[in-house]
């Protein structure tokens, strides 16, 4: 009898611990949101979002963070486009052109898994080497290329795992109608998996827009608005990092507001991709 009790008590105790851990996770997440909102909200106004920093503003503050917002948008969109242009066809290639247990497919998947694990600072260093090799200066273009490398494995892995779930029959039917593999890949499989692929792209975008370590070397930083692919650009993560590093409260406030903006953007992308996935799934067959 007492033995049974001990066993049941152990289970109950662990259940309580598990509930606590999960509650703690949600709590930490909420505290994080709250902290960023409370710190960033006072600085959030139209001027902050629509102006670039005033000159010499690292000592005084004034002006806004438009340079970083625009820079991040250009950089992340460019990189996502580039990564998608390479990653999505590769994912389709693995799933439509190659057989299920093809060695080459395994090799490609293996490479992507390894690439996925490489830290962003290493991508930054690699981007930096490429820059030196081509005698480029830090610029929007260099940043786009580096972030594209970073996003590529994230996006391709996500797209691949979606495409793996597309039933083989669909491929067979399209081929049985005399379609080529190319037509099957882009007209049928792509369409069927579209919500999933979109989510994969958005996951890549979210990662790209939030990364700081890789763009430090390659995109540089500037107070002016981005005008050219060959000029340095500011990005939100670095705006946060540099502005919090100054001892001036007004400049720090800009940093906190940048953090709020960045967090809202990333949350928006995450939630948007969830909604999209759900909506599209209604039309997709299993």
């Amino acid at each position: 009898m007492s033995k049974i009790n001990k066993r049941i008590i152990e289970e109950k105790a662990f259940k309580i611990v598990m509930h606590t851990v999960c509650a703690a996770v949600v709590l930490i997440f909420l505290i994080m949101l709250a902290t960023i909102v409370i710190k960033g909200l006072p600085g959030l106004n139209l001027k902050m979002l629509t102006h670039q920093p005033l000159r010499g503003s690292y000592a005084e503050g004034g002006g806004g963070i438009l340079n970083a917002i625009l820079g991040s948008v250009y950089l992340a969109l460019g990189a996502t486009f580039l990564a998608g242009l390479i990653g999505i066809p590769v994912a389709l290639f693995i799933n439509v052109y190659l057989k299920k247990n093809s060695r080459f497919a395994t090799l490609i998947r293996f490479s992507f898994d390894v690439l996925w694990g490489i830290p962003s600072i290493v991508y930054g260093a690699f981007g930096f080497i490429i820059m030196i090799f081509f005698h480029m200066r830090s610029s929007l273009l260099a940043g786009i290329i580096t972030i594209a490398f970073l996003e590529l494995p994230i996006m391709t892995r996500a797209a691949d795992s979606i495409l793996k779930m597309v039933p083989l029959e669909l491929k067979e039917i399209s081929l049985s109608l005399g379609a080529t593999r190319f037509e099957t890949a882009f007209r049928i499989i792509f369409k069927q998996a579209f919500p999933g692929i979109l989510t994969a792209i958005l996951i890549g975008l979210g990662r790209g827009i939030g990364d700081a370590a890789a763009v430090m070397f390659t995109a540089g930083y500037t107070d002016s608005l981005p005008t050219s692919l060959f000029r340095p650009v500011a990005t939100l993560p670095l705006a946060i990092f540099y502005q919090l590093g100054t001892p001036f409260p007004e400049v720090q406030q800009r940093g906190y507001t940048s953090a709020l903006v960045l967090m809202l953007v990333i949350l928006f992308i995450s939630i948007f991709s969830r909604i999209l996935t759900k909506r599209f799934q209604q039309n997709v067959l299993r």
Partner: protein
């Protein structure tokens, strides 16, 4: 040249497992040929050999010859896409493509021809009528195909297959996922279509084979046990196994080994 499909000593194996073993059959034109046999006996494999979809699987080894319209389809330089265009496939479960009803039928048409919008609409209507689906969907051609009932979906698959103007229709247990009423509609349709098409249907439903088939191929563990006209196979089967299978008796490996002895027993008047 009378028989559009002919195989000669065709063997297929998936890695270690031999799915088809020295199959030599002929499929007559403008008739319904039923491939029957218990599940897992290579019926679907045989069907997929014809339109070369089998190549999508891993570790496939194919030997022997398959002729479609007199051409060995496993020759090098065969245009596999125009080969597949010759054959419309009716899948086991209806699998509409992820697009509208209209687009499903138009898909094959668009791939193979360049048609104006009006022409395309006319053809889509024609093939939907051909599959007896038109009246049910004419008001919602641009609804997503997934919204149709499962029986309607299968007729959509038929229309889609007919739209590529094939000479041959391949049905892979085309009614197994359907309710009896929808299944009957498909069967009637197939009988109607055999005037113009060569039809090959895989089924494990003997009643269906009796209703539909002009010609029957009985496959067991990858081997052809019997292949003849439906009349002969169903009324006076040559092999004991066919007899047993048609009657719905147990068929297990023992039969395969003992058949010779069983025949002896029958000959001695012991019966089964």
């Amino acid at each position: 040249m009378n028989n559009p499909i002919r195989t000669n000593l065709l063997s297929v194996s998936y890695g270690q497992h031999q799915a088809l073993n020295d199959v030599s059959i002929e499929i007559p034109a403008r008739k319904i040929t039923a491939i029957i046999g218990p599940s897992g006996c290579g019926k679907s494999t045989l069907l997929k050999v014809f339109n070369r979809l089998l190549e999508l699987n891993d570790d496939i080894i194919i030997s022997g010859e398959v002729f479609v319209d007199g051409q060995d389809i496993y020759d090098k330089g065969v245009d596999v896409y125009s080969l597949r265009k010759k054959m419309g496939l009716l899948p086991q479960k209806p699998f509409p493509l992820p697009m509208s009803i209209f687009e499903n039928v138009a898909y094959g048409l668009k791939i193979h021809n360049h048609l104006g919008k009006g022409k395309l609409e006319g053809l889509v209507e024609h093939y939907l009528k051909e599959a007896s689906l038109w009246d049910e969907v004419k008001d919602r051609l641009h609804a997503h195909a997934a919204k149709l009932s499962i029986g309607q979906q299968q007729r959509l698959c038929l229309a889609r297959g007919l739209a590529i103007e094939p000479e041959i229709i391949l049905g892979d247990e085309p009614t197994s996922a359907l309710d009896p009423f929808s299944a009957e509609r498909i069967e009637r349709k197939l009988i109607e279509l055999k005037k113009r098409y060569t039809i090959v249907v895989v089924t494990h439903n003997i009643q269906q084979a009796i209703r539909l088939a002009d010609y029957v191929v009985f496959l067991y563990y990858g081997k052809v046990v019997e292949a003849d006209t439906a009349d002969k196979v169903f009324k006076s089967p040559q092999s004991l196994m066919t007899q047993a299978y048609i009657k719905g008796e147990f068929l297990d490996e023992v039969w395969f080994d003992k058949e010779a002895r069983l025949i002896n027993k029958v000959a001695q008047g012991e019966g089964i």
